[in-house]
Subunit: 255 residues, 2 copies
Amino acid sequence: MIKKITIIGSGNVATILSKVFVNKGFSINQVFSKSKINAEILIEKLAANQQIKITDNIAEIDDTSDIYIVCVKDDAIATVVNQILFKDKLIVHTSGSVDITVFNGFNQFGVFYPLQTFSKDKDTDVANVPFCIEGNTNQTTQLLIDLASSISKKVYEINSEQRKTLHLAAVFACNFTNYMYSIAEEITTKNNINFEVLKPLIQETAKKIEFQSPKEAQTGPAKRKDQQTINKHLAMLENNPNKELYKLITDLIQK
Amino acid sequence: MIKKITIIGSGNVATILSKVFVNKGFSINQVFSKSKINAEILIEKLAANQQIKITDNIAEIDDTSDIYIVCVKDDAIATVVNQILFKDKLIVHTSGSVDITVFNGFNQFGVFYPLQTFSKDKDTDVANVPFCIEGNTNQTTQLLIDLASSISKKVYEINSEQRKTLHLAAVFACNFTNYMYSIAEEITTKNNINFEVLKPLIQETAKKIEFQSPKEAQTGPAKRKDQQTINKHLAMLENNPNKELYKLITDLIQK
C-alpha cells in the first residue's frame, strides 16, 4: 500500500495532487522543483501538519517513498527521469502524451494521468477528475488504481495506445472547443455585444452531452443545410482568418 | 402592458415560451400551428387553467391579443407573417438570423430572440436564458423588455445588425463546439474508450470561461507550439477527414 509520496514538479498538477493527498492522510515526503521558491509556495498551500522536505537537486531525491509522481512538463519528463539513480521504486508520470517507455530501466512504473484542465486560481474537485491508469505489471496497475480511487470516483485503466488517442480527443474536446469560444468572444466584442450574452448557450451546449450523444445533439445551419444562412455568415467573415474554418467545419458537419 | 398572447408555431420555442408565460400568469389566447395535433400537444403540456383556442388556419388568428409571437422556422417566418391580415397589433419573431424588416407593413413589431439551445426532453430554466430584444420604436422596445424581464433575468437590447453577428458567434460557440465534442466522441469510441472519460473535461472547459476570457484560457499543444505532439496527432489522424481541421485550428491558434 502506498503511504509516502514524493512529488516531482511544482506546477498545477503537482500542487493539486499534493493538496488532495495531504487531505486524504497520505504523507508527502519530499517535493522536487528546479525552483526552490516554487516548491516552498506549493508547500505553503498544503497547510500540512507534516514536515515536507524540498530540493532543487535531483540527486537529493531520497529513496524512502512508496511512489514518485513526476508532474513536470511533457518535454522535461525524460530528462528528469533519467537523472533518478535508484531504479527499484514505483515511479509514474501524469502526462497524457508521454509513452510509458520513458521509464525503461525501472522495475515498477506506470502512468497516473488526471484528464482535466487545471486552473491556478480555481479549486479543482479532484473527486470528479477522471484518472487514467496504466502500470507495467498487473500488480502495479492495481496499486495505482487503489491510489487513484482514494482521491477520485472516476478511475479508468487506459493503456498507452488508448491514452494517446484520448489525448488527441481531449485536444478537440478542450483546446479546440476553447478556441471556438474565443472566436465567439472576438465576434461579439468587435460588435459591442457583451460576451456574457453567449455564456448560458455555452454552458447548455456542454450540459447537453451529459444526456445526449454530441452526434445526435448537432444543430445549426450546417446540420440543416441552410445554405442561405451559411452564405450570410461567410459574407460576414470576409477578410477574417476564421472564414476558412467556418467553411471547413460546415463541410465536415454535412458529410 | 401585455397580458394576452398569441403563439404562432408549436415547436420547442413555442412550447417553452407558452409554458413560462402561463406559469407567470399571462393569458395564452390562441395557438396557431399548421398541425392541429402539435398545437394540442403543446397545450396539454401547459396544464393551464384557461381556455386556449387552437387553429391551423392563419386567417382564423384573431386580433384580440396584445402580442403575436412568431415561433416558426426561420425560412417560414416571412410566409406566415405575410398572411396575417391585421397590421395594427404588436408582432415579434424569435429568430436570431431573420431581419426585423420581415415585418414591413406592420405598425408595431420587433424581435424577441431567446439565445439558447432548447431540447425537447429537457426542461429549460428560462430565467437564465438571455433574451435579445429589438423594437421598431422606443415604446415597443420597452414593452418587449418588460415582457422579457417578467420571464428572464437576462434581457439585452440588441439591434438587427448586432443580432446577426451574435447568431454567427453562436454558431461557433454552440454548433461548432458541439462538432468538436462529436469528433472527440468518435475518436474515443473507435478506440474502445468510454466517452464518459472526457465529460468532466468538457464541463470544466465550459466553466472556465465564466471567470476567464477564452483567449486567456487557451492551452494545448498548438498554444505552447509543441510541434512534436502536433506531429504525433497529425500522424494519428492520417486518412481522417478531421486532419485538415486539426491543422487549420492549430495554425489559427498560433497566429
